[in-house]
Amino acid sequence: MMTRPATELLASASSLEEAKRLFAAGADALCIGDQNFALRPAGHFDRTAIREAVALAKEYQGRIYIAVNALMHQQQLEELPDYLAFLQEIGVDAIIFGDPSVLMTARQVAPDLKLHWNTETTSTNYHTVNFWAKKGARRALLARELSLEDVLDVKRHTAIEIQAQVHGATCIFHSRRELVSNYLRHEGKEGANGPLVLQEHNRENQFYPIFEDGFGTHIISDEDLCMIEHLPTLLEAGIDSLYIEGLLKPVEYNEAVVALYRRAIDELVANPGAAIDPNWRGELESIQPQGRPLGTGFYFKAQIY
């Protein structure tokens, strides 16, 4: 087997079945989570499933990261020590945390767990990355609201691993409130039947998926990130992990996306300086769900404030 490039290709998985197919398609690592501790996991993995996922990863020489990145409230706090001890015991490759309570608990009951720091919208500069590095984080997941220049600058100024998202949906809003249920109750309805999207009154062709879970309400971007054409820059800069978010997508889609990025990364690493294959973007566009354009998010967009 050919040695894989140093850059990690990481994806989310919603089930063991998907995990298997994504490893087979070329993912180096997968991110999964228990819906009681993870923010917006693609699917729910209970302890049995996590154990099996870890075993599966071994077959593929891959890695499993467990998202424990919710903003914790009292109830989760009580269950956290046992859960983290379990994750350490079965040998997951890392956990992803945002709330300092997870760090505090891990220090006490699972000091060997490797920690990846992720506070979603608020991981935005290298000083903060280095702060969490001092607290024990081995990797930082950067906010999707950063420019590519900022991402590269963070990488240049930190010793820990940097993970950046290259494909898929991003969460743009998280409320603890049950905004969908509240609205439906106000309307006098029992519940909704199908997936829901929001459309702002002045934005005709932009559809923002919205859903509720145990942590409240989440709104998702109206387009999917797609950085396939900018992989050379990311690879050259040594970004350690490139993430494909599979949330709200069918397994077939995620499988095809992982396979394509695998192929692209391998080719670009084998032939540094080679041009981008113009078909890559086209292949991704051809499988894109209707109404969800591909875009580059904030990587090339200036924001004002």
């Binding site: 709330d99 199908g194 924001q303």
Partner: protein, 403 residues
């Protein structure tokens, strides 16, 4: 028995004038924004000179001044930051409110004497997270607005660090800091002061069902009613919360004075005699006079329901306006000298209120301009007038009118 350790009443001050009113109406501390690193790029933020004057005024009255520097920074935002915190320390600012750990570090090294409070933007929701920040040397943690009274009690019980909790004002409907709707819809960075409040806009909720897109009839909105915990101040005091915070650096002087004055009365009345404290209807009436939106207790007792949100057209609140400021009062004649703040006329019903005093309502009976001529209207901004008042008033009392 009276409660000796009263909580601090912390009020917003959008500018120097609001700072003075907040302090005079009973705030133990105010928080302001400077020219940089704050989350209200459009608020009347303080220059260093304003800060100096504000600090002098507040300290003279035994009140503290905090500066919010609670952006979530990008790599390029750190230039000049150390200088900024050093200057705040020199000016005598009592504490800074910070959300980003990197900014905490800059502040610690540049201005080691400056007290640091962790902003609500850090979404601190549990006692272990509070403990983490306490161990980092943070003097005070401002809790997330998503915690319940029970969770606040648990935090106070378990961690020895000052706790600040919101008691009043408008709220993000998201976890603070975890919303980038504004970034996505307008390119304005919410976490660096540019929030366009996209959450208050109108949306359609569409449902994909059997390959069709159904649109729900009523407009989908994500607007929360405004927080008001005036009835629950005793719970907060009993839990030992050190600081009770009012939101609203963009709000009017009338709002600040009314809300601060009323919370001051409730805190003082309860602490003076907890056993015999009775919540008066007039406290809530005052809240409604200042309210821009209907009121809610948000997460205080339980997770908010549809009753805690505003759907459709926001209900019209009875609006009151700041009509005039009392400058002076002559006991012999019963005449007050006032400065006009919005037009009013003879025959109009008005109400006088002031720091630590009972309100009284009256009709405007007689008015004179600065030259002593009797007039029937007060149309000019900052016009000086004399008015016949039915009870004694004091400088800084306010005259409000319904509108």
């Amino acid at each position: 028995m009276a409660i000796v350790k009263k909580p601090e009443l912390l009020a917003p001050a959008g500018n120097l004038e609001k700072l003075k009113f907040a302090v005079l109406y009973g705030a133990d501390a105010v928080y302001i924004g400077g020219q940089r690193f704050g989350l209200r790029s459009k608020a009347g933020n303080f220059t260093y000179e304003d800060m100096q004057e504000g600090v002098a005024f507040a300290h003279e009255h035994g009140a503290k001044v905090f500066v919010a520097a609670n952006i979530i920074a990008h790599n390029g935002d750190f230039e000049g930051m150390d200088e900024y915190f050093r200057t705040l320390q020199e000016i005598g600012i009592d504490a800074v409110i910070v959300a980003d750990p990197a900014i905490i570090e800059v502040c610690k090294s540049a201005a080691p004497g400056l007290e640091i409070h962790l902003s609500t933007q850090a979404s601190t929701t549990n006692w272990q997270a509070v403990q983490f920040w306490a161990e980092e040397g943070i003097e005070r943690v401002v809790l997330a607005r998503e915690v319940s009274m029970e969770e606040i009690r648990e935090i106070k019980k378990r961690v020895d660090v000052e706790i600040e909790a919101f008691i009043h004002g408008a709220m993000c409907i998201s976890y603070s800091g975890r919303c980038v709707l504004s970034n996505h819809m307008t390119n304005r960075d919410a976490n660096r002061g540019g929030c366009a409040q996209s959450c208050r806009w109108k949306y359609d909720l569409q449902e994909e069902f059997e390959d069709e897109l159904l649109v729900h009839d009523e407009t989908f909105t994500m607007s929360s009613k405004d927080l008001c915990l005036i009835e629950n101040i005793p719970d907060m005091i009993e839990a030992g919360v050190e600081s009770l915070k009012i939101e609203g650096r963009m709000k009017t002087i009338h709002y600040v004075a009314t809300v601060v004055g009323t919370y001051r009365k409730v805190i003082d009345a309860y602490c003076a005699d907890p056993e015999n404290f009775v919540f008066k209807e007039e406290y809530m009436d005052e809240m409604l006079k200042a309210a821009n939106r209907p009121l809610t207790k948000a997460f205080f007792e339980h997770k908010p329901t549809e009753d805690d949100q505003i759907f459709g057209i926001p209900p019209k609140m009875r609006k009151y306006e700041f009509a005039a400021l009392v400058l002076d009062y002559d006991e012999a004649t019963g005449l007050a000298t006032i400065e006009q703040r919005s037009p009013f006329a003879v025959g109009q019903d008005v109400e006088f209120f002031g720091p630590k005093r009972e309100n009284f309502a009256q009709t405007v009976e007689q008015l004179w301009d600065a030259d002593g001529n009797e007039v029937t209207t007060a149309p000019h901004p900052q016009q000086i007038l004399k008015i016949k008042v039915q009870h004694p008033v004091k400088p800084y009392d306010m005259m409000r009118k319904g509108c």
